[in-house]
Subunit: 242 residues, 2 copies
């Protein structure tokens, strides 16, 4: 079995995903938020690419919660921003969340166009998502959303930490890197696994969020294996795998 | 002062290089070979992109040495392949070498189209090239040749080791990463600096060379700071900076 890493949503190509299991990662903050929302009783998350799409859905279904960000800020007319700490039981319990973010929702939709199965990963559910990916029996591709089309340190470090979980669960000799980027990610996983928060503070996007006063979000997103839950994207919507 | 990393020749864009000092890296094996040849008395190295270009030069100037590879093998009609161990004094002393390789020579020519100055880096001259780059006073971009258009572990690890040399020479607080990839490279430099050969064996291209019986080349290319010499590319040709 092989594992590979794609460093940005823009580099997703169908032939690199065909027949494989994709784990999509946007640590700051889309996939951390999705995992948190579903763990807090949200019924489903529908990732959409544009603000207009989200507002159109609200018009049809006034009971949905609109969440997301542009420039890391709340979108006018939306209920929630992209902070996982906003997606607690009292806000999202039993609800459908429609989410649009700069990098993460695009990566999920693009990954789904090519791969056999799309799982939503984060540090919060690293071990759970690794276990489920192995369970599919397919080659695994860790799809980093990236930041504005560029390599993202926190996504790649998280990919490496999930690769470490894959090795822990399956043994070093049963799963192999498919590219040098996959090897580099594994090494970065070894560097950061004992302090994932450091990867977030080492990243330029994390430093920007910290300057915006969002350090509590970063601490939340860095909680390794806090949830034992795997969100799956299928047919336009994300639900918890049972 | 900032440092940045470009992960493949294909990602070189003029605006990322303009007014900066580029350090081009193709550890396995083009830039290691160039550094070795010049250290062994070669007068100059002219990197060209095609086999036809190289053969045309030989027709005009029968005294040049043609070197390079395609698929890591000797090119028909050429004198030397791309092994640094072939470029010793008795073969290249006093001579002009015309070199064409799959990734490295393209990266050098593309970097030259955009940047203020192009230096040739390798593990062999890591400290020397770091010192010279700082001496230019410009922002620094480490340009990894990559392998067939993909991220290369050995080039990125070498970039990270040179970044460590930059920090050692200038202090941590006077030079800053311009991107998350630059931070990741620095971390990989920390992982591999005490055993650079491991980076070569961890890379898929290195594993291929080892299977081809080229382990001696890899050991040579991993000799950290073996030479105190900086090749500079200018006007189509590479000579030693004095």
């Amino acid at each position: 079995m092989k594992f590979d890493v794609i460093s940005t949503a823009g580099e997703i190509k169908e032939e690199r995903l065909a027949g494989r299991t994709a784990i999509v990662l946007d640590i700051l903050r889309a996939t951390s938020t999705i995992v948190t929302a579903l763990a807090c009783g949200c019924r489903e998350v529908a990732p959409v690419e544009t603000v207009a799409e989200a507002l159109a859905i609200l018009e049809q279904r006034p009971d949905v919660i609109l969440g997301g960000e542009r420039e890391s800020l709340l979108i006018p007319g939306f209920h929630l921003c992209n902070s996982p700490l906003e997606y607690m039981q009292e806000k999202v319990g039993g609800k459908v969340v429609v989410l649009t973010t700069t990098n993460g929702t695009r990566a999920i939709r693009r990954a789904a166009a090519g791969s056999g199965q799309v799982l939503i990963g984060s540090l919060l559910n690293a071990k759970a998502v690794a276990r489920e990916a192995l369970h599919t029996g397919r080659d695994i591709v860790l799809v980093c959303a990236g930041t504005r089309g560029e390599f993202s340190l926190e996504d790649t470090a998280a990919a490496g930490i999930i690769i470490k979980e894959l090795h822990n669960l399956s043994g070093d000799n049963s799963i192999f890197p498919g590219s040098d980027l996959a090897v580099a990610a594994r090494r970065l996983g070894e560097v950061y696994v004992h302090n994932p928060l450091q990867a977030l503070y080492d990243s330029l996007h994390g430093q920007k969020l910290a300057r915006m006063g969002l350090a509590a979000d970063m601490e939340w997103c860095a909680r390794l294996n806090y949830y034992d839950l795997v969100p799956v994207y299928q047919g336009g919507t994300i639900t918890v795998k049972h």
